[in-house]
């Protein structure tokens, strides 16, 4: 049957909606090859339609299969793009190595471009009135208190606060910090809020 490989690819993408799987280079190549084969067969048969009219319908059927493969491949890429966007919002502009390697080189390039476009938009916010931009990846939840107690989950190193104080974030150390200054570290899993 036509376009079956590409369905396996999509089912694979649907299985893990909250994580991203390695880019399936191999299968993409196979599907593109299937398309080339269908196309070649169509070229041959299209030339022969003068002798055999009913070949024309065969050509049309293959053409539908080509269209189907195209749609499926684009849907696969698109669903990954949505996940890669989430990576940008959640991990930030720099991806951890183990996450980075799940992306193909082209996808990483897309990630970088997406990230740059986003950064330049955010930098532009409020520029007319002297702001250096606004980071939209912060202030994600309605604020409840200005300071929160956090537990450090990893050896992070020094963190300089807005008021100039420098604190050392060591694994298992506890701190009482301004909410606005530790949201990103919490999102990235380096700090954990203690309720």
């Amino acid at each position: 049957m036509f376009a079956e490989k590409v369905i396996e690819l999509l089912k694979e993408a649907e299985r893990n909606p909250v994580t991203i799987d390695p880019f399936n280079d191999d299968k993409i190549r196979q599907i593109l090859e299937e398309m080339q084969t269908l196309f070649r067969m169509n070229m041959n048969d299209a030339n022969a339609t003068t002798e055999n009219k009913s070949l024309w319908t065969t050509v049309q059927v293959r053409h539908s299969a080509l269209e189907r493969n195209k749609r499926c491949l684009l849907a696969y890429l698109y669903s990954r793009m949505a996940k890669i966007k989430t990576l940008r919002w959640e991990f930030g502009a720099i991806l951890p190595a183990d996450v980075r390697e799940l992306l193909s080189d082209d996808e990483y390039e897309w990630f970088t471009k997406y990230s740059m476009n986003l950064a330049s938009y955010m930098r532009s916010l409020g520029q007319d009135i002297g702001y250096n931009g606004i980071d939209l990846t912060e202030n994600l939840k309605p604020p409840k208190s200005l300071y929160i107690e956090v537990l450090c989950m990893a050896d992070y190193g020094k963190l300089e606060l807005e008021d100039g104080d420098v604190i050392l974030l060591k694994k298992n150390s506890r701190h009482f910090l301004p909410t606005s200054e530790c949201q990103t570290l919490i999102r990235q899993g380096i700090l954990k809020q203690i309720s």
Binding site: F39, L74, Y78, W110, I134, L136, N139, K141, P143, D163
Partner: protein, 218 residues
């Protein structure tokens, strides 16, 4: 001590001055509507910038107060509430712009010409760049490797449209008579929205009422 600029002129040609309080209320309702409407709404950059100005002004003044001063903490808390609204509002818009970038850009081109643009210039630029990156990515990874007659990036097909017929909850800010609800059987129904009444109905017939502030999405 008064930390606010009490009266703000929104734009120079506008005689009328409105208070920061009104700006905040307007922004809050714009945020709420943006969150709950399926389509992108006309931007309220005037309100955003005005609030950002207020925040900046206020932050400078807070810094003059002792750190532990109760008033400083109160002001900081209010500012972080407002920052939350602004960030969430702008972020909501960005995610709609990304999702519906093709139809938004198509419609926006016409709106820019008539000066009734929904996006800010920076949002417009963002959308164009976003679509361009998407197109290039799809071309590089698969389209260019397909047989010749399959290589087109067909933006008409790719376009995802907001569902204008999705159902929303609303409260009428004033009485509106004769809202027409489309019925599939062809028997359209007319209803009146009395001031303060609440309804769930299709977005499409009330889209304009959201934009002109006659109803609030809830």
């Amino acid at each position: 001590m008064d930390l606010t600029d009490d009266n703000i002129a929104l734009s120079e040609d506008e005689e009328e001055e409105i208070t920061a309080e009104v700006v905040l209320k307007t922004l809050q309702s714009a945020w709420q509507n943006e969150r709950l409407a399926p389509e992108i709404l006309p931007h309220r950059n005037d309100m955003v910038e005005c609030m950002l100005g207020q925040i900046q002004h206020m932050e400078r003044n807070i810094n003059k107060l002792p750190k532990t001063d109760l008033r400083a903490t109160i002001h900081k808390m209010e500012l972080s509430r407002i920052k939350f609204i602004i960030c969430n509002y702008l972020k909501t818009r960005l995610s709609k712009i990304e999702k519906y970038c093709i139809p938004i850009l198509n419609e926006e081109r016409q709106r820019v010409e008539s000066g009734t643009n929904f996006l800010t210039p920076m949002e417009y630029k963002y959308a164009q760049e976003y679509l361009l990156n998407m197109e290039n990515h799809m071309k590089t990874v698969v389209l260019d490797k397909m047989p010749g007659n399959m290589q087109m990036f067909e933006s008409n097909k790719m376009a995802e449209h907001p569902n204008m017929q999705s159902h929303v909850f609303l409260k009428a800010n004033e009485t509106i008579n004769g809202v027409v609800l489309e019925d599939l059987a062809g028997e359209d129904e007319e209803i009146d929205l009395e001031e303060g009444s609440q309804h769930i109905l299709q977005y499409k017939p009330i889209a304009d009422l959201v934009k002109n502030g006659k109803v609030q999405l809830i």
